[in-house]
Each structure stands twice: as C-alpha cells, then as structure tokens.
C-alpha cells in the first residue's frame, strides 16, 4: 500500500465508523453530545495514561469509554436537575475537556498526547507508526484501532437494530415493551466514545464531529428509510474523506480540515438539491404546482 492509500483508508474507516453512531445520534436529536464526547475522551486518555503509565491501546479504549459514558451521565444529571439540555452539554464538555488539557500539560507533556493534535489530528503521520498483528505486517496502528471499532459498531448495530430503531422513534413504547432503553442510550454513548478515541488520534476532534453529524444529516435529506440512511451516510462520509484528501493535496493544506469542509459541502448540496427536501427543488416544484393550479 502506498502512503496515500493508507491515509485514505484510515480516513474512510473513521468516516464509516463515525457515520454509524452519527445516524443514531442525529435521529435521537443528540448530535451535539458527540461534540462533547469527542473532546472529553481526552480526559479518559490522559487518565488511562496516568494510571497505567503507558499508551497501551486497550487501556486507552477503556479510559475513553468511561470518560464518554461519564460525560453522558453528567449531562443527564444536570438536565434532570433542571439545567437546559444544551447548557448542560456545554458545561460538562468544557469542564471535563479543560481538566484533560490541564492534566496533559502537567503530567503528559513528553508523551504522544498533545492538545493541538487532539483537535486537528495529523493524518499525514498515520502511515509511519505501524504494528504487526495476526501475522499481518506493516499496517498502521491507527488502521488497526479504527478497524476494531468499526467492527464493534457494525456488530452492535446489527444485534440491536430493531431496539435502536424503536427506542429512537418511540422511547415510550420501547420502554413499555421491555426494551432496555437506558442501557441502549449508554451503549450508544460508549460506542460514540470508542469511535471518537480511535478516530481522534488520527483525524482530530473536529473531523470526528463533522463525520458524526454531517453525513447522517445529509443522508436524512436524501432518504426516508432508516436502512438506506445508514448506507447513504457511510457513502457520503467516504466520498468526503477521499475528495477531502485530494483537495488538501492540491491546495497543500490540512487534510482533516479539508475532509470536514467536504462533509459541509455535501450537506449544502443535499440541502439545496435533495429531490424530497431540497430548498431549490421545492421552489421549482412549487412554481410548477402554482401554475398548474392556475390553469385548473
């Protein structure tokens, strides 16, 4: 595999993993929780590092998952105590992220954990840190991590598809039928956390949030079937990653930034031209209907 191919592969895996949790979060009107979690996992990472004194993958995952779930729990607590949902997200997210930033700058300055990196990521360095595993050699560590998370996300989505669907659409009926809605909520928070942590090292928090929210929001404008929404959203996410890479190479700029920009442009295109929801298409259609009404 060439250098370019590794970068594109990593970004594509990230984008698909993110878009899976993203569809569920967007439908549950919880998209901004991903913004919170993608930042607060930094606290989980640095805590895991301080406890184990290593950058071992598993400890990092567990630390991140705990930080992500705690984020969701704190938001829920504040919210049920009467704090507005968006304010609760803002408070928890900045507070935990800030603690993470302080811990990194106090104790972890010399290791491979830094704040700027966690926000912007550095895709360009991905192919250089490789790990041999299962007899396969020369595969970048980031590719291993994100592949594992992607497989976990796909399996959980497959196992709990009906349950996720009903508890997203009608949590009251879901609870009445005995579907564990609270467990599913925190499972999704856990999935979001491990996705964020696996992605974040490679691509940074901004691209994680962009990939979690924009492709699902775009797919939402293009289809009215849940299954297709997952597929369209994955396709849009991968297209954003690939086109973002080439535009970044052309303009010699930050790769993750360009990929995030592409998710925004794809959304804009769907917003204007989607056959069912597009603003422009609706205008044109209304015009025609008005004329035909006049004739009638």
């Amino acid at each position: 595999m060439t250098y370019t191919m590794w970068i594109i592969l990593t970004a594509s895996l990230v984008s698909v993993a993110c878009s899976i949790v993203g569809v569920l979060l967007v439908l549950r009107k919880m998209a901004m929780i991903s913004d919170a979690i993608s930042h607060t996992v930094l606290l989980g990472l640095v805590s895991a590092f301080l406890i184990t004194q290593s950058l071992d993958g598993l400890a990092m995952f567990i630390g991140a998952a705990i930080a992500g779930i705690l984020t969701a729990v704190f938001i829920q607590l504040l919210n049920s105590a009467g704090v507005q949902a968006d304010a609760a997200i803002g408070i928890v997210f900045t507070f935990l992220f800030a603690i993470g930033v302080i811990l990194v700058s106090m104790f972890a300055r010399d290791v491979h954990l830094d704040v700027e990196h966690s926000i912007m990521g550095e895709l360009a360095f991905i192919p250089w840190t490789t790990v041999d595993w299962l007899g396969i050699e020369g595969v970048p560590q980031a590719v291993w991590m994100i592949s594992i998370v992607l497989v976990i996300n796909i399996i959980l989505l497959f196992v709990f598809y009906k349950e996720f669907k009903l508890s997203s659409f009608d949590p009251h009926l879901a609870a009445a039928l005995g579907i564990p809605v609270v467990f599913l909520h925190y499972l999704l928070m856990g999935m979001t956390s491990i996705t964020a942590v696996a992605s974040f090292d490679a691509v940074g928090a901004i691209l994680v949030v962009a990939m979690i929210i924009a492709p699902p929001a775009t797919a939402y404008l293009l289809t009215e079937q849940l299954g297709k929404m997952f597929i369209y959203s994955a396709i849009i996410a991968v297209l954003s990653a690939i086109s973002g890479y080439y535009f970044a190479a052309m303009l010699d700029t930050n790769i993750a930034g360009m990929m995030a920009t592409m998710t925004g442009l794809f959304f804009l295109a769907a917003f204007l031209f989607s056959p069912t929801h597009g603003v422009v298409i609706k205008k044109i259609r209304n015009r025609f209907t008005t004329y035909s009404n006049d004739e009638a």
Partner: protein, 250 residues
C-alpha cells in the same frame, strides 16, 4: 381476576404529587374513559401503570401479576405528539414495531409478521398507505397507524393516550369501530380522554381524575354533574345548564 388493578398509586414530580393514592379495579371487557382537567395526571396514571414513570408508592397488577411479567398482553398507544413523525420510516414499519417485544434479539420481522401488520393496517382502513412515509400522513392517518401498531401487539389490555385528539371525522369513526371490535373480543381498553361531550357515547365505564380519583364506575352512575363539578371545580362553565345549550350529561 381484574385486567388492571391498582392499589394506592402515588407519583410525585419534584415532591409535588401528580397523582395521589389512586386505587381502582378495571373490569374485563369494558371501554373505560379516564377524564379530568389538564394537569390532572391522566397520562401519568397510565404511564405509571406501564412503568414509564417511577411511582413514589403503590402497587399495580395486570391480571393479578406485576406489569413486567405481563408485557406481552398489554398494548399501548402513546400520544401522537410524543414521537417525531419525520423519522425515516413508513407506516408498515411502524406497525411492525408493535411486534418487536415478541420477535427477540437479532431476529428481524418475517413474512408472517408483515402479513399480520398489513391486516392490522386494514382494520383501521390504512392498508393502502402501508408503504407511505409517515411524514406524509395526515394527523388522523398517523393516529390510525398508532392504533394498528397497538393491534399488532395482540394484547388483552390496551392503554390509549388521547387517541381522539386532533383527528378527522373518518379517523374518529375508525377508532370507535376499533374500540367496539376490541370490546366484542373481551378486551379491556383504558382511554385517556378530554372531550366530555362524547364520554357517554364512547365509554361503558369512566374514571374522573384530578390528582386524586374523584369517581370510578359505570358511566351512567358516576358521570354526574356533582362528580364533574368536583373534578373540574369552577372551571367548567358549560355544566351550568341554563347558560349554555351544550350539556355533556344530556
């Protein structure tokens, strides 16, 4: 054994009681209306029976057993406004959701489930809309899809939260027809209702609720001016029969 029996249920929100010490025994095979002013705790009562809101105290049983053991025989129609009708799915799919409790993990609805769901849609006159996006249905059609979903649950006891709100005449008729069918099959239906004009026409039994249970029994016995006055206080102008041509008790 009664289909629904509650003993002193109290539900509180921020220490203020939403419903207090409500006990009742619902008889089998009856259509039962639950009426009361806004904030009387009507929805809360059925949600507490279904375990959707925590109880401060009290017991509930469905045919003599706790609700958790009886989920399979209880159907639920939440308020139409409680869900997002822009969710990417179609009418048939929503009806199939009524079967998710029985289908089990990993398994998907099969042909037989789909066939049954179609029959449920047909019972509410919506079979032609099976593949229609739910966002494109009218309010009344959405309500009928919700009812079809409850039918798909194939229950013995049904709880419906304000099914008549904001529906067209055709849907109202469809709901009444459906309630009559359910009753003729010996099923018990509890309906949160707010239109006093129609209580006598629709329900065999009625509960008057205002945080506490004011009255519960056969409609002709308990749906009286005295009880209504007690339930609604001074807020019910049309109870004063001289001043207004409309009389819910007539």
């Amino acid at each position: 054994m009664n289909p629904v029996s509650t003993n002193n249920i109290t539900v509180a929100y921020h220490r203020k009681p939403v419903i207090q010490n409500v006990s009742f025994e619902a008889p089998e095979g009856k259509l039962i209306g639950i009426v009361g002013p806004n904030g009387a705790g009507k929805s809360t009562l059925i949600k507490s029976i279904l375990g959707l809101v925590p109880k401060a105290s009290g017991n509930i049983s469905i045919y003599g057993k706790p609700y958790k053991k009886q989920r399979q025989i209880v159907g639920y129609v939440p308020q139409r406004g409680s869900v997002d009708w822009d969710f990417p799915t179609n009418a048939l799919d929503v009806v199939l959701m009524g079967k998710y409790g029985q289908i089990g993990l990993i398994r998907r609805p099969n042909k037989k489930d789909k066939q049954e769901a179609l029959e449920c849609l047909a019972q509410v006159g919506m079979e032609a809309f099976a593949n229609r996006q739910i966002s494109q249905l009218s309010g009344g059609q959405q309500q009928r899809v919700f009812l079809a979903r409850a039918l798909a649950q194939n229950a013995f006891v049904y709880f419906m939260d304000e099914p008549f709100v904001g529906v067209d005449a055709a849907t109202e008729k469809a709901i009444i027809q459906l309630l009559t069918d359910l009753k003729s099959k010996g099923k018990t239906v509890l309906v949160v209702h707010h239109d006093l004009q129609t209580v006598k026409d629709y329900f065999d039994w009625v509960m008057l609720l205002n945080i506490r249970k004011i009255a519960f029994g056969p409609t002709e016995e308990v749906f009286t001016q005295e009880h209504l006055q007690k339930t609604y206080g001074g807020r019910l102008a049309f109870l004063d029969q001289e001043s207004n041509g409309v009389n819910p008790l007539a």
